[in-house]
Symmetry: C2
Subunit: 333 residues, 2 copies
């Protein structure tokens, strides 16, 4: 295992410590229990947004804490759900009196621990709603999940919901918008290589030199099938077709196209994939009006990508375009 780390046990704590120093203008880190929180939290009268999950998917979620997006992120150990304690503490810390929304990727551990934290917060008088993100069309059930997994769509839910909270929407309305984004987004990924969880020291699966895995999960969970490496245009079609057919997206739809790197894939390859994905959508009369290309929800150093397509309406476009100021996503201020 070759990594730029010290003791594998300290990977998350040291990374969070570095993140705190690098972005002290945006966030602070609360320790014992550990969570990353907007420097100006709680924002009085604003709905608070909390997400979190296992580490190893950076910049998700800590990189999305700040103005116009999350109020707090709770990092677990690598690929391991955080316990209810830090989720509860983060929830209370961001409650500005308008309630708190939990944005939870659909993995059994995350769902259970956020639910427990929500119950405890409610008992302490904080109103909490939850949206479960489950945008992965690859498989119905998976290694850590009953139902579909939450993957790339989470980034879009967090950005758009964050803008709604920032403009002053009520908790009910913010939860409704989060659900709408989840309902309108579909994702599928591919892996060229596995990744190595630091404390495990070995890849959780192997792929032959000419093999790729279609429908991979962000923790390396099995996807739909293993196939021989193909030209990326063919791979893009293998990902896009199930996405398009699922909702289904149809001619006349306006969409956001999100090509996400899994961590170890160079940007040049993501843009080659983006090029063909945009062309396939255009051929079907689906208009790409917003784009996101880069490493936003990763699996450590895994080589691969995911493609997400989100159906837009005027409100979602307005919320997408609204100013955001986080470590990983920033515009308009």
């Amino acid at each position: 295992m070759k990594k730029l780390i010290n003791d594998p046990k300290n990977v998350v704590s040291e990374a969070v410590a570095g993140f705190a120093v690098a972005h002290g203008d945006i966030i602070t880190v609360s320790s014992d229990p550990t969570y990353i929180v907007r420097a100006d939290a709680p924002v009085s009268g604003k709905v608070g947004l909390v997400s979190g999950g296992g580490s190893g998917h950076e910049p998700l979620h800590g990189g999305f804490v700040g103005y116009g997006m999350l109020d707090a992120a709770v990092p677990g150990a690598v690929f391991t759900s955080p316990t209810p304690d830090p989720i509860l503490a983060a929830t209370k810390a961001v409650d500005g009196g308008a309630g708190v929304l939990h944005i939870v990727k659909n993995y059994t551990g995350d769902v259970l621990n956020f639910e427990t934290a929500a119950d405890l917060a409610a008992a302490d008088g904080v109103e909490v709603r939850t949206v479960i993100v489950n945008d992965d069309v690859a498989v119905q059930d998976s290694l850590y999940t009953a139902g579909r997994r939450g993957v790339g769509g989470t980034v879009l839910v967090e950005k758009i919901t964050g803008a709604a909270a920032e403009r002053g929407d009520s908790l009910d309305r913010v939860a409704e918008i989060a659900q709408k984004v989840n309902d309108q987004v579909r994702t599928m990924g591919v892996a060229l290589t596995p990744c190595v969880v630091p404390h495990a020291g070995e890849p959780s699966f192997t792929l032959a030199e000419d093999e790729i895995e279609i429908g991979i999960g962000i923790h390396g969970e099995p996807g739909r099938e293993r196939i021989k490496l193909e030209p990326v245009d063919a791979i893009v079609e293998r990902l896009l077709t199930p996405i398009i057919d699922d909702i289904p997206f149809t001619s006349g739809d306006r969409v956001l196209l999100f090509v996400n790197g899994m961590g170890g894939t160079p940007q040049i390859e993501l843009y080659i994939a983006y090029r063909h994905a945009a062309a396939v959508l255009a051929q079907k009369g689906i208009e790409v009006t917003r784009s996101l290309v880069g490493n936003y929800i990763t699996s450590l150093e895994m080589q691969g990508m995911s493609i997400s397509v989100l159906r837009l309406d005027d409100e979602l476009v307005e919320l997408w375009d609204a100013p955001v100021h986080t470590a990983a996503l920033r515009w308009g201020r």
Copy 2:
């Protein structure tokens, strides 16, 4: 070779095509010859900034074209200098009457081809100045370079110089600021793995499973030494010490600390490295007042990082903080 590509011959053209579609609000791509240019170029009365070089270092340089940074970027084949033709065409395209600055990384091919293009542009009546970036302290001469190589400091030169041009500074003044940034920044890198140039199909060098290369170049050129893998804190010190000693940086200096990923290293590792780099600087009384962490000048899928330290003064801070709107670096608008 496992990559998300089609024909290796088309890697750059297809990536540039995807980039053009994804970022049509910021840039356009001129073909035959190929260069990436600000959508609103030429900006009348503003000094034009042109950079470029071999592809494979994305987001450098195309990702830095836009308001407050470059006016044009000229991509060569992977790890291969662009020819004078597209550099000349880009230079003319961005000349708004105030002259053009070429920002050139110090590699023999780049320097020669930009020089030829500058001569041809001058013959056509465009005033051109050139700054050669040579911030890499690792080695004096290298595989493709007489003198020090241009690496991470290039990103900082482009951002700060771009802000100076945007506020209306003259060509002489913009060139002077570019030179000042180059004089005040030092960089050194490390590789954990090699990368594979698509048309070569094989790594240009190999590293044993327990080996790393200190002082690596961004094309995989040899560095100072190969050593056994160490904890990242020790690696950080191996990079930082020569950087600090070179200028030298001293107690009381204010600096920008830039921890750059080589392409295949997860963000979580970059922040672990950042944490210790910031601590080492603090111990020496050097104050980190600005930060940049992420993949900004890469070597395809190479695992590794570089550390850059830039000494700041009030003017450089103001220019660093000034609004920028490019595909890869954006704030303030």
